[in-house]
C-alpha cells in the first residue's frame, strides 16, 4: 500500500467495521507506519472521550407526564388501569413541570410572534397556542397587579423590552450545497462561517464580505427567511447574539 490510511478506513478500523481483507491490509500498514499509528491513537482517544460522556437520566417527572398524557389518549384515567410504579409520581410536580412549559412557550412566542412559520405544521397549532397564551398572559397580568408590578418581569427576567432586531445575512459568492459560506454582521461585529464554525472577523474585514442587513419583520426580511431558512441565521437583541444553524442555536456573543 502506498500513501497513508484514509481517515475513513482508520475510523472504520477503530470500530472493527472493516471487512477481513481490509482489516489485514490496514493492520499490516499500521505495523510499519508510525504516523498512522499516531493517528489511530488520536482517533481512539477522541472516541474514548465521547464514550465517557455521561448517560444522563431523564427527569423523574417526565414519566408521570408521559403516563398521564398516554392514559388520557387511551381514554383511561392517569394512575389507574395497571399503571406501574415506574410511571407514578406526585401530581404537584406534574403541575410545576407544566407551568414551566407554559412559561417557555410564552418566551418563545414573545420572541418569534412576528416571524412566518418555517414549517407548515406549526401553522395548524398556532390558534390553540395563541388562545392558551392569551389566558396565561391574562393570569400573569393579574398577578402583576397583585404583586405591585413585579410579576411578569420577575418571571421572565431576560426578555428584551422591545422586539428584537434581526439581522439576516444572505450567502454571498458561490455557496456550496452543504456548507454555505456566509458572513453576517451583528451589532458592529462581523461573523464568518469558516471551517464549519462561526468565527468573529476582525474590524479590518474586507468590504466585499459586508452583508446586507434587513429588518426581520419587514417584507424583505420575511422573504429572506423563507428563502434561506436552512442557512445560518443570526439574531440579535442588542446585547446578545445567537446563531441558528442547522439543528442548534448557539450563543455567539453576550455583551451584557
Amino acid at each position: 500500500m502506498s500513501g497513508h490510511i484514509s481517515s475513513e478506513s482508520l475510523s472504520a478500523y477503530l470500530d472493527g467495521e472493516t471487512g477481513q481483507a481490509e482489516e489485514q491490509r490496514l493492520a499490516a500498514h499500521l505495523a510499519a507506519c508510525a504516523h498512522c499509528r499516531r493517528r489511530l491513537a488520536a482517533a481512539r482517544q477522541l472516541v474514548g472521550g465521547l464514550r465517557r460522556l455521561a448517560q444522563e437520566a431523564p427527569p423523574p417527572e417526565l414519566a408521570t407526564l408521559i403516563r398521564s398524557r398516554v392514559a388520557a389518549e387511551a381514554g383511561g384515567i392517569a394512575g389507574t388501569a395497571g399503571a406501574t410504579g415506574q410511571l407514578q409520581s406526585s401530581q404537584s410536580s406534574l403541575r410545576s413541570l407544566r407551568s414551566l412549559r407554559w412559561l417557555r412557550s410564552l418566551r418563545s412566542w414573545t420572541w418569534w410572534q412576528g416571524l412566518p412559520p418555517l414549517r407548515g405544521s406549526f401553522g395548524a397549532a398556532r390558534p390553540l397556542v395563541t388562545a392558551g397564551l392569551a389566558l396565561l398572559v391574562a393570569a400573569l397580568l393579574l398577578q402583576n397587579g397583585e404583586n405591585g408590578g413585579s410579576g411578569l418581569a420577575s418571571l421572565v427576567p431576560k426578555l428584551p423590552h422591545a422586539g428584537p432586531e434581526f439581522l439576516v445575512s444572505e450567502a454571498f459568492g458561490e455557496a456550496p450545497a452543504v456548507m454555505p459560506q456566509t458572513t453576517s454582521e451583528v451589532a458592529g461585529r462581523v461573523f464568518v462561517w469558516s471551517d464549519d464554525v462561526w468565527v468573529q472577523r476582525g474590524v479590518d474585514a474586507s468590504p466585499a464580505g459586508q452583508p446586507r442587513t434587513v429588518p426581520a419583520r419587514s417584507a424583505a426580511g420575511r422573504e429572506l427567511l423563507a428563502k434561506f431558512s436552512d442557512l445560518g441565521v443570526l439574531l440579535a437583541d442588542g446585547s446578545r447574539v445567537v446563531l441558528r444553524y442547522n439543528y442548534e442555536t448557539v450563543e455567539l456573543w453576550n455583551g451584557s
Partner: protein, 218 residues
C-alpha cells in the same frame, strides 16, 4: 452455536412483537415496559442532538407519545430498539429544524442545561485537579459535538454514545452502510478539529488530514 444465536435473535424480535401486540390490545403495561426499557436511550439521543436538557425532556415526551400512537404498526421486521431510534430521530429532525429561541452558550459557565455533563466523568478516586480537567474536557466534547453538522452528529452520537453497529445505524438513518462509515469518519475528524482549536485533548497527536492514495470504499 451459530444456529443457537440465530434462534436467540428471532426470539428477541418475537418479544418485541409481543409487546406491540399487547399494546394494540389495550394493555397499558406494555407501553410502561417500552418506556422503562428505552426512556434513557431516547432521552440521551435527544439530549445530544438538541444540546439542551429541557429541550431533550420535551422531545422525549413527544417521541413517546408518537411511540404510543404507532406502536401497533410495529411489524417486527427490525428490532424494536431500531424502530424507536428511527421514530426518535425523525422527530428530533422535524422539531429541531424549526426556529427556537433556545441557546447553547459556547462559554463554559452553563452547567444547568444538561449539555455540560463533564462532571459525570468524575471518578471519586481522582484528585480535585484531575476531576476539574475531566469535567472541562467533557464539557468541551459535548459542546464540540453540538457544533457538528446534523448528519455527522447523528452518526457519531448513534455510534459512539449509543453504541450501535454501522448496520444498525444504516437501518435507523435509512442510508447505506458506506454512507454511515463516511459520516462517522468525517464527524470524528471535525470533532477533533474543533477540540484541537479549543486546546482540548492537550498532548494528543492531531488527527491530521493526509493525502491518501487508497481508494475509498463505500
Amino acid at each position: 452455536m451459530k444456529a443457537a444465536l440465530i434462534v436467540a435473535g428471532v426470539g428477541l424480535h418475537d418479544l418485541d412483537l409481543e409487546l406491540a401486540q399487547r399494546h394494540s390490545r389495550g394493555d397499558l403495561r406494555a407501553f410502561d415496559e417500552v418506556y422503562s426499557r428505552y426512556a434513557a436511550m431516547v432521552f440521551n439521543l435527544a439530549l445530544r442532538l438538541s444540546g439542551d436538557g429541557d429541550e431533550a425532556a420535551d422531545l422525549t415526551q413527544e417521541i413517546f407519545l408518537r411511540v404510543f400512537r404507532h406502536l401497533d404498526s410495529f411489524s417486527g421486521r427490525s428490532a424494536l430498539k431500531t424502530w424507536i431510534f428511527r421514530v426518535a430521530l425523525n422527530h428530533c429532525r422535524e422539531r429541531l429544524s424549526r426556529f427556537r429561541p433556545l441557546t447553547l452558550p459556547i462559554g463554559d459557565e452553563s452547567d444547568g442545561a444538561g449539555v455540560a455533563s463533564g462532571a459525570h466523568l468524575a471518578d471519586p478516586r481522582r484528585g480535585p485537579e484531575e476531576l476539574a480537567v475531566a469535567a472541562d474536557l467533557g464539557r468541551q466534547v459535548a459542546h464540540a459535538l453540538a457544533l457538528l453538522p446534523a448528519p455527522f452528529r447523528e452518526a457519531v452520537v448513534l455510534r459512539d454514545l449509543q453504541g450501535l453497529s454501522y448496520q444498525e445505524i444504516a437501518a435507523v438513518l435509512g442510508v447505506r452502510v458506506g454512507t454511515v462509515r463516511s459520516r462517522i469518519a468525517r464527524g470524528r475528524e471535525q470533532l477533533r478539529h474543533l477540540l484541537d482549536r479549543r486546546g482540548a485533548l492537550i498532548g494528543a497527536p492531531r488527527l491530521e488530514t493526509v493525502d491518501t492514495e487508497e481508494t475509498e470504499e463505500t
